[in-house]
Symmetry: D2
Subunit: 337 residues, 4 copies
């Protein structure tokens, strides 16, 4: 249930509404939006009649939230959330490009790739320091050394940093170096991790699990928000289907659905979805056309020598060509790039 | 195997190459392209060494076709096929809009919808006269009466007609009224029907089955082409996945794959894929951005009163708004609309 | 809606009930069961109040059928249908084994395989004369010559014949040689074919499409039944999933669901589902344990030399070993084999 | 690569082989089997020629392991692993029944359910103390209080305890009360957790993720084994498909595949897969028929009052009926129950 208070509501009236909802067993969350105060009653309480709440002093409107993801829903907050980090606004008019290598390998790799990424108009540098690998025998990442490197290179290029957190024990470390904490697809329902991320104020990007429904995906975002951190982005990265020409199947259908149900910014990662370089460019274009708030793309200054996922990393010049096309498509959908 | 002959090859030399391939058990097909003669050896023969064929008099080049869909592959024909019907070219620079109601219902419906469709820039009018319905108890279409109606209305508006053929026994009838014969998703592997369509010279559009791989989809096109009719288009219309917010899941990933593997024009039908009106517009934009050669969209002048699929039919004004966005996106990808 | 009449209902009363339902727009079907007369109102009529129908003279009970597959549902007919062909009863206590080669190849192949099949306790000989092949270039079957052969060999061994019909134009021919007409997975929603099969009195086995829901599968059976032929069996043969170790994924989950929703006998085909010999035996056992009414299994007296699907065909001795295990499992679930 | 040493190999020879493999970059693991010493070279080393290794003194045989899951594969160890905990042997002739409620609720619930479970022949009591819930607002489990309760009740009934661990921080606590640590489907690729479980000597059961391939599933087991703990079981619990009659789709196809590829015991959980009580019994029977080494089944003495998953919990008398059928099916496949 969402309760909108009157502009002139007194602190006593506000407190009265909150107390009534708590008595009914709910947790009460205040929407971060400017303007009139908006309260959401979440959790497993007993729903009061809307009429009862509407009749309370100070209440302008009360309505129910049909979605299970209460705080992530447009029923709670109609306009797309804009998440500001430094001078970057995710969810605003600008389509945000996040780009970089799959994994942080070396100073040369990061310096040369970051320069290409910045030149193409990216605002965020990506790169993994801790890698979730299907095989225990594969390269697992540079760890803190990698985080220091990506931070330094990003700063030198005026870029933000996004990197994946694999476990809640890494949180303190990651917070020191990273602007956006990425939750990988395999950890989308690692609820211990999601709860912990509710306690930080860092931005969190929750990638969709390989076969997660839109509801489940947004419920994972809800875990973070209900824990106290509403700086949440979600990211589509391909679902598991039966086609073998691509690694996974990029699901832009779900992006259209998520954008209509939720106010959270939605990013699209075509690189992991398809796993083959030549398909990344057309699908990145399609993602912006469908309404995504940003893209996460793998780029490497020398993909042939990448430690992982080289076959899906764009060459810097491909990224430049893509950026040119994106500008026109963003304009067609009323956005900038 | 594809054999390209020298411009100066004599009829005897050409005949010699064909005879050798037939001796090896193959069927020999001549590519319809202008320029040098290109022969494809298809079927279950014994592949000769490339060197042997290259050494034959009159042969410029010989190479193998790794794909199972020989005649539909870019290995056989590198440039996208352009299918001309009247003044419409499918597969050329223009992105082709095919639009109209799910099913042909009445004169008023067709006249009013066709006017809206033409105004939005469509070149082809769609409408079903024979409807494949999951339930034997549902409305099955107007039959020939419907075909006469759509033909008359299309002619009055300078549009082509596309309509679904459900059975090979309908072929003679359909050929009299229809420009493009549509094979529905449920009939994608109705091989008896596909073989029969190989004998006509009408254009054929093969919709992808609900869970067909790209290979299987293109193999169904190959059935028609190998039967003697190379006027074939393929159409993506959503795959069966687990999401319940939309009817099916539009698979633009497969469109990117099909475009890279095959020279056939690829059309996208977002209406049947998603089944809900508000998602059709963003996904139609994405389809053009990914590189589709055209769109198949359901429109109805009064969707609330449509006999079937009203909830996924666009209002005429939505189609107009979409057309405006498509113009800009087509331009971004080097196309016109 | 299902109307059960009183044992003492007069012909006038019965006619009165039928007339009322027809007036409301329904088609009226009489259940084939012995005992009291049961009528089903199917199609797109306006449902009367249950109370109205219950109050009609001669009516013992009226209740609604919630399932879309009216005549195939247990709401219409609670006990499993038993389909008698000669001395074989499908759907009764005996678990029916149908076995034989994928495709009819030669006299020697059929004679030797049929002997093995009979020895293992099979009651039906399978073998394709018309083969639906993904590639137009693959072997398409022996046609009528094959049908004559399988009929002769089956008769010599006291077996029934099941074979696939691919097109309604083959019906007259098939009826002369075959006891059970099989509709392949790719034709599950070939509604023209299903309608035609409603007009014959031959038994029909409808295989489940590669990604059909249980509802869609049973609706395809409903097409045949509503057309006038209630001698229908359904067959699970694997769904398309993402695993690549097997060709498809045998879905015994759906068998449990179909058995609870429908009175039609359910057969399981593990051979096509998995496509690898060594997995056929354990999954055949599981099919009987879950409650299947029969099995369809590929066997070849010399699988290495089979024209198609040799890698999934059992050796005769494997079928003998399986039969022994099936006897005990059938007993555990109150059946015989 | 797997190296089998000669019975008479000297410690120096064994050391020599190990040293050579380590020089090549491998990690060397000794198989726990009795009999001749078997070494596996795992990780990212440079494979030596088999001939080189076969020529080393003390080596009886060397062969490669084609599977990515080296230590979990039958190439490494051909016979099914038997995991002994107290007097229970998982993977041996006895089919092991693990049963109990979804979540630990109260003393009465555990005492009454455990009695029923033991009577039906179960050897392990299941019950969740920490619950992974899709919604942050749902009941999250009793925690340590629940663990104490299940331990006490299990001991009173001579049963082992299995319970889910959600996070590596719970390991110390769980180890005090639980015999088998369950990794839930959502955590199948929580690699931080899997690595930690490699350091304990407790038995670990890895549930298959909702859309994990068999390879990925066994790779998750490999994480635990390669970390030093070879007491690993895997559990199939349903995949995500498109059918809506059941919660997920139990995949016995994958059980047949996993049993052929891996020596690890395979358990089947039909309760979570289907989510509806009446389908659990037939699918449990099928699981034993296909060759599962055990079952994990939800039972509640009063399902209507269960906090979670009541609709899928068997009544005690259903479990008794199932047990009777399982005895006969186990016998048919050469097992006991």
């Amino acid at each position: 249930m969402v309760i909108t208070l009157r502009p002139e509501a007194t602190p006593e009236q506000i407190h009265g509404v909150e107390a009534r909802l708590r008595d009914l067993g709910f947790q009460v969350v205040r929407a971060p939006s400017p303007g009139p105060i908006v309260l959401a009653a979440v959790g497993e309480g007993t729903l009061p009649a809307l009429a009862e709440m509407r009749a309370m002093p100070g209440v302008a409107e009360a309505r129910s939230i049909p979605e299970p993801f209460k705080l992530a829903s447009r029923s709670f907050r109609n306009e797309t959330s804009v998440l500001k980090i430094g001078d970057v606004s995710i969810g605003g008019p600008e389509v945000i490009l996040m780009a970089g290598p799959c994994t942080i390998e070396s100073e040369e790799q990061m310096v040369r790739t970051a320069a290409a990424v910045r030149q193409a108009g990216a605002r965020v540098l990506r790169g993994g320091a801790f890698k979730p690998r299907t095989s225990p025998y594969s390269f697992q990442g540079l760890g803190e050394e990698g985080l220091k490197l990506i931070r330094r290179v990003a700063d030198a290029n005026g870029l933000l940093v996004i990197s994946e957190i694999m476990d809640k024990s890494q949180l303190g470390l990651m917070e020191r170096y990273v602007d956006i904490l990425q939750v990988g697809a395999r950890n989308m329902q690692n609820f211990s991790l999601l709860r912990e991320l509710g306690k930080t104020q860092k931005a969190v990007m929750v990638k969709r699990g390989l076969s997660a429904t839109v509801d489940e995906w947004l419920m994972s975002a809800e875990y973070v928000i209900s824990g106290g951190n509403d700086r949440v982005i979600v990211c589509e990265r391909g679902i598991r289907a039966y086609e073998t020409y691509t690694r996974n199947t990029l699901d832009l259908n779900a992006v259209a659905v998520a954008k209509s149900l939720s106010h959270l910014p939605v990013i699209v990662d075509p690189s992991h979805a398809v796993g083959v370089r030549e398909k990344v460019v057309p699908l990145a274009r399609a993602a912006v056309a469908v309404g995504a708030d940003g893209l996460l793309i793998e780029v490497h200054y020398d993909p042939e020598r990448a430690i992982c996922d080289g076959q899906q990393s764009l060459y810097p010049e491909q990224l430049m060509g893509l950026a040119k096309q994106l500008r026109q498509i963003a304009d067609a959908v009323g956005r900038t790039f």
